[in-house]
Symmetry: C2
Subunit: 429 residues, 2 copies
Amino acid sequence: MALNIPDSDLPRLVIVGAGFAGLELANRLPIKEFQVVILDRHNYHQFQPLFYQVAMAGLEPSSIAFPIRKMFQRQKNVHIRPVDVLELKPVEKRLVTEEGEIYYDHLIVATGARTNYYGNDKMREKALPLKSISEALHLRNEILSDLEKAVMIEDYNERQKYIDIVVVGGGPTGVEVAGAMAEMRRYVIPKDYVELDEDEIDIYLVQAGERLLYGMSDHAAKKAKEFLEDLGVKVLLNSQVVDYDGETLSMHNGEKLLSRKVIWCAGVKAEAPAGLPDDCMHRSGRVEVDRYCQVKGLRDVYAIGDVALMREDEFPDGHPQVAQAAIQHARYLAKSFKKKLKDEEVEPFAYNDKGSMATIGRNKAVVDLPFYKFSGWLAWVAWLIVHLFALIGVKNKVFVFINWLWNYLTYDQSLRLIIRPEKRREKNG
Amino acid sequence: MALNIPDSDLPRLVIVGAGFAGLELANRLPIKEFQVVILDRHNYHQFQPLFYQVAMAGLEPSSIAFPIRKMFQRQKNVHIRPVDVLELKPVEKRLVTEEGEIYYDHLIVATGARTNYYGNDKMREKALPLKSISEALHLRNEILSDLEKAVMIEDYNERQKYIDIVVVGGGPTGVEVAGAMAEMRRYVIPKDYVELDEDEIDIYLVQAGERLLYGMSDHAAKKAKEFLEDLGVKVLLNSQVVDYDGETLSMHNGEKLLSRKVIWCAGVKAEAPAGLPDDCMHRSGRVEVDRYCQVKGLRDVYAIGDVALMREDEFPDGHPQVAQAAIQHARYLAKSFKKKLKDEEVEPFAYNDKGSMATIGRNKAVVDLPFYKFSGWLAWVAWLIVHLFALIGVKNKVFVFINWLWNYLTYDQSLRLIIRPEKRREKNG
């Protein structure tokens, strides 16, 4: 096999990564002017903000994923290849992929970020990440099958390991996971698992810093903690996780928690392809770009989204690694390609921070707008609307909406299926 | 771990298998009169007639599966355990499961049937079965990722292996799979894979016998073949498959087909737990029962559904292994438990054959009613309605209906995601 991209008279623009940044760019590009090649290890775009709802059995993967090919149907100059990119050779203007090399005229690195374990190998091995749809499905299976096992365990202490859950990381994902787990405990367990006592289930949210939701307002942090505690989540601040053997989680202060499920939402690390010059690589893994999204020191190579580190006066450490910034980078870059084609002047990028939000549960969310901060029911509705509209695809919007409505009315996320690959059985015919 | 079923004053009724038969029985039983234990290796009921639509990316697993616990919410005397049953010890009235033993007062064996490879180990190893949701998902992933690979293959002959598909078995499943594949070729490939030539894709339906749809009328068989050929499926009758090495499929007449995907829909074999006396076991794997669903020679042990072999004058080889028979067995048995509780007399079971149906594609289906046979659009609508109503759960009905409507209007099954377990990457933080 080879990438098998046909020759073309158009300049070749290669996009690595079909997340918010890569896909938005492809969508907005003057697409007829380029031969566009999209490389992503998956054949679909995944909507990260709702991974946790897949993990909590509230949504199906297909509702928050969109096949990349569907977005470029019948486009003869768009070539999509589900391959891993191994290395960049900037001098030759070539990319090495698992299926062979490819030349580019323009390269856009939009490879995003992955879970950051901060070098803790024990965590990487034993904790459960939540940075992809398949990780979300795996987490769902673990939660459900541990509940099934818990029903079959008589011993109190042994059972605790199966039902208690620890969420590490007090950012939006950690807060959302802990809140959703607490709602499952309140609304689903008493109905589905009458044999379990839901009061025996402990949900911990462990945060290294002294408050939740860094990057949001104090009001949001305070409210989020209040909401979580209302739902019965034990919020442990100033608690650093040091070790985990799959059952015992140890903190820096000697405290220990027993649980088979430690969900790791404590941070991300940008993931750039190998081969970028050392002097444009930041230790966070991000790639330094100028205000035109150009990777420093390289021609015709751009980085956008979570993987890009663009410094502005207001953002000396780069923009926040959120969908909003990725989309703004992408729109900006698409526009600058258009302008360059028309020989117009390109202005430097400026980030427009529209605010941020996090949801904790039914009628419970926090929203920071630049000039107004609010929380509660209205914030929750705002969160739903923003996320519904951000989803790609009409069908996804429809299905997520119906699911949310259903779950809201029935107090029940109903997708509690433990689906795993079948072992081939010896007994078969 | 142990099964951990509490003691109870009620007689214990154990149901093995939560397919159509087992679940229908549990639903209709005078449930307050028993301690009901449901054992199934999955935590959900799966709707077999639509597996092929999951495989063809038209439906999500959750739309055709239903969590067993959801059906018995808040029922304190119903105990659900997702375990494999290993052996029956009829003398002691005990069952051995992977999580320990359990005593029963009444045992209902409703373990259904699995893929039958007729002893052909090569087939078991290399062909793709379609008898569970996870097998359907696996097949979906194979079809899609082979298409992705095909795009990257220049060599014509090599590419054929990735795009051609062979379906073995001319029963309803085989016919439905072949028809759905042909529709994907016609409506989806030209949009999603402009780089492939859909005319290069061959779809074969291989049937050992001289006609399709044994068990249905000649009219249905003829029409189904016509419909399939209209869709461009190559129907090979009188063709027995003898060998397959993962790429080359050999027939008894020396003919060979090249394909990486041979979908095996050629038959089922009943799957009864070990430990049943030899003289009640038929060579098809089915368990011989009398007209009261009682396993011959055993007290308090019943078999219903695909695993049961009940002979009536009209059905000397037992009832057809279809949902209809399973549901009728279950309803009958539930009613006989009720009658026995009231000391009423129990009549022997009599099967009421309501007819059968198969669908080939848009507006193309065949229906055999006892006194009327028809095909085409009306048959197709009938098929949709019957299957929609047979689904368990209001939400499933709603979601399947919306999906069907969507697919019908857009000519597009849109769930083309290749979701596989993530390899843990060395590069992570």
